[in-house]
């Protein structure tokens, strides 16, 4: 059974969305964080791909490209005992409140 990320060419995959958009600041940040964690030897591109592919089907479909990157980076940081899920969630709440 082929997993959700490996749908290239499947008849029900639908057309490729070729819409372009201005790259958002948060997307640049997501890219930068991922690249620097690779450069510092915290994780590898292959681990990152594996983590993206491990997202559940519904979640995978709902998330955009860089949202998947962020979700995968979170998974790896938790897996490697660098951050806990609670720490990430607390920080997210804190940031959200500070931006209100």
């Amino acid at each position: 059974m082929t997993r959700i990320h490996d749908l290239g060419g499947s008849p029900d995959a639908g057309p490729i969305d070729k819409d372009q958009h201005e790259v958002q600041d948060w997307e640049k940040l997501a890219d930068a964080v991922t690249v620097i964690l690779d450069k510092k030897g915290v994780k590898t591109t292959d681990e990152h791909r594996r983590a993206i592919e491990s997202l559940e089907g519904e979640q995978y479909k709902e998330l955009g490209y860089y949202e998947r990157w962020i979700a995968a980076t979170e998974l790896l940081l938790v897996e490697k005992d660098i951050l806990t899920r609670e720490e990430i969630d607390e920080k997210a709440v804190e940031l959200e409140e500070s931006w209100r």
Binding site: M1, D6, L7, G8, G9, T44, D46, E47, R50
Partner: protein, 98 residues
Amino acid sequence: MTRFEPGVHVRVRSDEKPGHVRTPDYVKGKTGRIEGIQGAFKNPESLAYGGSGLPELPLYKVGFRQMDLWEGYAGLADDALYIDLYEHWLEPAQKEAR
């Protein structure tokens, strides 16, 4: 040493291997031709789980006819697709692909 030389026909294994692989479903079981040898690289199937990726594996540029990949392909007969595949995904092909 590489197992396959340029010009040789190969079939991509159709295994449903669990975990992270760099071989997409649409080439599995298909026959193509070795177009070039890209070098030897660490195994992504090991790197993806924190492994060393060693030993390095030969990576080939493999060419396929689009009509061999997609059922009912309506483009030109010569249309081709090239993809990099690791050696352990390839086996000698019996039939001539192109």
